[in-house]
Structures are given as C-alpha cells and as structure tokens.
C-alpha cells in the first residue's frame, strides 16, 4: 500500500468513525463529553421519555458554570430558575453516576477551563459539549466541537454523534508577535480578515511559528475563537509545550501509560504534503493589538486604526450600518481615546492564569480609573487559587480591583453580571453580539492587555503605551 500523507484532523477523525452512512453523516465515537446546567436538562428528560439510559457514564463530566453567581457562592442561589437548573444537574448526574463538579466544589469552574486543567482533555481525543466554545480543547490536538441538546442526548445514550465530516482549512502564521500583542489578538486579526463566517463548513488547523511559540493558555484562546470564524472547531498539533502542560495533571496518564500516550501523541501531526481544502497564511508582523467595534467578532481592527469604511468590510453594508448604529459609532471614527464604562476579564476565552498575569502586568503600580466598573472573574477555583498564590491578587487590590468567584459571568450575562444598556464594555470574552452582555450593552472584544489598559485609563488605550 502506498503512503498517503494525512492531516492531523483526518488522523483523529478517521480513528473515531464507527460507521459511515452512505449519503449521510459519519457515526463518530466520542471519548469525552462535558455537560453543564443549561443545555443538559432537556437531554436527560429525553432519556427518561424514551426509557433509555447513559451508556458510558464515566466518559461524561459535569460542571456548573453558565448560570452561577460570581459573588457569595456559599449562599443559596437567589434566582429560583437558576437554582432549579443547578438542582436538575445535581440530580441527573447523581441518578446516572456522572462526575459532577457543582457550585462550591473545589474543582468547579468554566467547563473549558476545568477540562484541560484537570487532564481530562488529551491529544487525539474526540470531545463534545453542549456549548459552542468546546472548540477550546482543540489546543491539545483533539477534535472538539459544540453540539445542541439533541446531540447531548445522543452522546449520553450511545457515546456517539452523527456528523457530516467537515472540510479542512489550514491557517499558517509565521514570524514573532510584537510587544503587547497577545494570543487573543491573533484570532481577532484572522476574524477581521475572513469575517465571522469565513470558515463555515471547515475544521481549522492552526500552524506555524506563532502557534508553536504559544503557551497552552494562548493556544486555548486561539482555538476557542475558531467557532467565531464559523468553523466547526480548530486544532493545534501537540508538542513539548502540550506534554509539559499535561504531565502530572490529575487525570493525565501516569507511569507506563504516560510513555504509551506520549508515543501516540507524537504521531499526531499533519504529514508533509497532506492536502487541505483551503489554505490561508498571514505573517505575525501584520498583527497589532486588536479591538472590535461592531456586533459580530469579525468586525474588529487594529487598535491604532480608525473604524474601517463600509466598503472595506466583508459583511453587507446594511449589517455594518446596523452594527455601528447599535454601538453608537461612526464610519472612520478613531477608537483610541473613546470612553469605556466597564471592563470584564474572564470567560473560557481569557479566564486562565496567564490572562490574569497579563492584566496584572499593566495595572501593577497604577490605579483603576474612577469611571470604570471592573469585573475580574477567574475561570475556575484552581485559577483563583493560583492568582492568590502568585501574589496577583495583592497587585489587583493595590490597584483598586477586586476578584469575583468563577463562572461564565458577563460573557453571556445569564446571571446577574449584566452590562447596563448603552454602556461600553471592553471585554476579554468571545462575542460582541447585540445584547450579549445584557440588553442594550455595547461590547468591545479585546485581549487582557487592552482590557487592563482601558481599566487604568478609563478610555480605549493602546497597551503598548503602558508596557
């Protein structure tokens, strides 16, 4: 048999196909399934209605995150509907013997933060969750993507999902990122170039020096935002950085199993000459700190630039104008110096230790601006503990900030953390949709460095001026 060069994506996908349906989807086996309180209750209800059970409960992991308060977590949850969802998750997981890291559990946190930090996410796995940002786990060389509740029910009942195989895209970026350019700026830059639907129908592999030189936290931020490009997910081949991150984590393989895993992981890369359906490449020196000005993540630009003209944007003119009207911005307006009201540091995009280190590096020795309300929300209790251990909390408090408790928080504003109507928030989260952070809220997506610069100056500021 002749050698056929194969992509990383094909290697992992093909190893998980249980059955190929002619003129239909593949039946794909799922190694790990994460669930949370918002998109799982109806799936459990479905199991009950059909009289079927959970096939492999040890392959599903539950955490409560979307709907949890970020203050006073030791008290009963006030909103009866939220409390009911949390109770349903607790009861459903207990009933079927599924691991559950609920509110106040020391392992609790945002699903896409706790999976990797506990070694549940490993290279070469298929991973799904009823949440679109499941793409985050692709940073480990896993095929990871978000699913709907009917699909959650499929995975619970059969550990499989029916999926047409996506097309493959490779985005290569070589070079070295400049000072003040964070991992978040890379996907925001790609989005500004290809739009929020530029990768729909594809699964992306990110390749090149920029990603090779990134930490696992940075890679997670990149893969997290692949869904915002319309892609099913994004992945990065595992390497020494990946192995070093995984070694010693609670559920990572140990002893002889570690050596065996390592031998397998080392095969997980795209062979030279493998063919993609689409290839894009950029250079690191094109990327400066980014910020969005519109109401989808594709409407962003370099922070030193003015808002682009309508004819320079891939979205239709009507969407562009609707977007600017909602944001209260004008075509060709300068972004630097615009007043900001709120700063949100957190979410599955930027709620990890490295994000807090970056934020602290700017606010250290400075003070929070008086006009800014800042919500700093760690992605998990483990991140929270690390913030304290490393002395970052002291820096934040000295600068006039305080730390909240872990959860999705203002990223989707399902709990009380809502940005008021008309207010501007520089947010390290992933979506700037109308009303995403609260009805009428105006979101500007950016990196933790840009968020920190806004937090201490009160206006949109280039973080390179403060470093």
């Amino acid at each position: 048999m002749s050698y056929i060069p194969t992509t990383l994506f094909d290697k992992v996908w093909d190893a998980h196909v249980v059955r190929k349906i002619e003129d239909g989807p593949d039946v794909l086996f799922i190694d790990r399934h994460f669930i949370h309180e918002v998109t799982s209750p109806v799936a459990f209800l479905g199991l009950q209605t059909r009289g079927i059970s959970v096939m492999f409960p040890e392959r599903t992991f539950a955490t409560a995150d979307h709907n949890t308060p970020t203050l006073n977590q030791h008290l009963p949850v006030e909103d009866p509907l939220s409390a009911n969802q949390l109770k349903a998750l607790e009861e459903n997981t207990a009933k079927y013997g599924i691991s559950h890291w609920g509110l106040n559990n020391p392992k609790n946190g945002i699903v896409h933060v706790v999976g990797p930090e506990n070694g549940i996410t490993l290279p070469g796995m298929t991973i799904v969750c009823g949440d679109s940002h499941t793409s985050t786990h692709g940073a480990f060389g896993a095929i990871a993507f978000g699913i709907g509740t009917s699909e959650v029910e499929m995975v619970l009942s059969s550990q499989c999902i029916m999926q047409p195989k996506p097309k493959k895209m490779r985005i290569t970026i070589n070079g070295k990122l400049g000072k003040g350019v964070a991992p978040k700026d890379v996907p925001l830059f790609i989005l500004s170039q290809i739009s929020a639907s530029g990768a729909t129908g594809y699964f992306i592999e990110f390749a090149g020096e920029v990603f090779e030189n990134m930490s696992m936290e940075g890679r997670m931020t990149v893969c997290n935002l692949s869904i915002e490009m319309g892609a099913r997910g994004g992945m990065i081949a595992p390497d020494e950085t990946t192995y070093n991150y995984l070694k010693g984590r609670e559920k990572s393989p140990k002893g002889e199993a570690w050596n065996q895993s390592l031998a397998y992981w080392q095969t997980l890369k795209t062979d030279a000459g493998a063919v993609f359906d689409a290839e894009l490449s950029f250079h690191a020196n094109e990327i400066e700190p980014q910020i969005t000005y519109g109401t989808n993540p594709g409407l962003g630009t370099g922070i030193s630039k003015n808002i682009p003209l309508a004819n320079a944007v891939k979205d239709g003119e009507a969407s562009y104008k609707k977007s600017l009207a909602y944001m209260g911005f004008a075509e060709n307006e300068k972004l630097i110096g615009k007043q900001v009201d709120y700063v949100f540091l957190g979410s599955c995009t930027n709620g990890r230790i490295e994000d807090f280190r970056a934020f602290a590096s700017i606010v250290k020795g400075r003070k929070k601006a008086d006009n800014i309300t800042a919500w700093l929300v760690p992605g998990s209790h483990i991140v929270e503990a690390q913030i304290k251990e490393e002395g970052i909390l002291d820096i934040l408090i000295e600068a006039g900030f305080s730390l909240r408790q872990p959860g999705c928080s203002a990223c989707l504003a399902m709990n009380d953390d809502k940005i008021p109507a008309g207010k501007y928030a520089v947010s390290t989260s992933n979506r700037n949709f109308e009303g995403r952070q609260g009805p009428g809220a105006r979101t500007l997506l950016a990196s933790p460095l840009v968020a920190a610069a806004a937090a201490v100056t009160g206006v949109i500021t280039d973080p390179r001026d403060l470093l």
């Binding site: 490993l122 499929m154 639907s197 319309g230 504003a413 399902m414 109308e434």
Partner: protein
C-alpha cells in the same frame, strides 16, 4: 422519538432580511433557564420584538400582522454563535417549520434538522427573489417540497433545488431521529470501544 413528518409545506413566509442573525438574537441567554423545551416561542427575537418595558416594537416583522406563515426567511449566515438548541426550539415553538437562507451556521443547521425544522439553503439570487416577492405581496405563497428538494415562488412559478443528505431527508419524511438510529447500533458501538485509544 418521532417528531413531525415533513414532506411538502405550502405557506406564506415571514421575511427577516438581516445578515448574521445570531442565536443570542433568536433567544437571549437570560431566557435559557427552563428545564423543558416548550414555551420558548414567547421570547423568540425578544430584544428585537419588545421594548425594555415589554411593549411590542411596532417596526419588527413579528409584530406586523400582515406577515405570517410557517416559513421564516433570513439573511446570510443565519444562526451563528452559540450552540443553544433553544434557538431552534423557539423558532419551532413560535410555529415555524422551515427556515430559508442563503447560508446557515453549522451548529444551527444540525440543531434545526434534529428537531424537525427544515433549513433550506438557496442561492443569494433566489433569496433576493423571495424577499422581493414578499415585499410585493405579504400574502405571497411558497412551496417547500422535501420529496423533490425544491423551493417554489408560487406567484411566478420560479423554482430552485436545494441539497440535503439522503439520510436526513429520509428521517424528516418519516419523522425518525438520530437517537433511534444510534440505539439500534449499540452492539457495534460496544465492539468499537475496545479499539479506541482512550
């Protein structure tokens, strides 16, 4: 679990000629707190449909009584964003059975198919013709024929084909779903597990 079967749908349509209609617009996160799938239709397009004081916004299409029907017609990149199936439930619960657009986000398309809503992708030109024919006459009728995989504008007789895989088409025509299919594969799945790395 069987849901509605879908063969031929002849109906008027509700136009929403906006691009990138994301799932946060279809159903905002603060309405995702239910543990059942019914009732989301009341909050479909909540913040476009109602003011902060809950009074209807007169200029939004769902508040305009001249538009009705089981077909929702949306602009390019419909259903982008969150994986929330609640968005598809809200559209279904409101009474729509088909969404037509020139481009759908992947997760939304899967979710719609999984609950018995037919997502129909047409060319940008044909989408424009559909919008124009509703603009000319709000009572204009359309026929979505899943058997023949076509959409027709009744007033002009113009017709375009759409693509759907044979497996999903069979499921929708018969009201079958993927969970039934996977339940019939359990032995095969058990044997497969023995071959996996994890």
């Amino acid at each position: 679990m069987a849901y509605d079967t879908f063969t031929i749908l002849k109906s008027t349509a509700v136009p929403l000629p906006i691009e990138n209609v994301d799932t946060d617009q279809i159903i905002p996160a603060r309405f995702l707190k239910a543990t059942k799938r019914e009732g989301f239709g009341n909050n479909l397009f909540r913040d476009w449909r109602y003011n902060a004081d809950n009074t209807p916004k007169a200029d939004f299409v769902l508040n305009n009584p001249i538009y009705s029907g089981k077909i929702l017609v949306g602009g390019k990149n419909f259903g982008s964003g969150s994986s929330r199936e609640h968005a598809a439930w809200a559209i279904y619960d409101y009474g729509f059975r088909c969404v037509i657009s020139s481009f759908f986000a992947d997760i939304f398309k899967n979710n719609a198919l999984n609950i018995g809503i037919l997502p129909v992708t047409v060319s940008a030109e044909f989408l424009d013709k559909i919008f124009k024919s509703i603009e000319a006459n709000a009572a204009a009728e359309f026929e979505v024929n899943l058997l023949e995989q076509t959409v027709s504008i009744m007033a002009t007789g113009e017709k375009e084909s759409f693509v759907i895989n044979g497996y999903k088409k069979h499921n929708m025509i018969n009201g079958f779903d993927d969970i039934d299919y996977l339940q019939s594969m359990k032995e095969e799945i058990k044997s497969f597990v023995a071959t996996t790395a994890y």
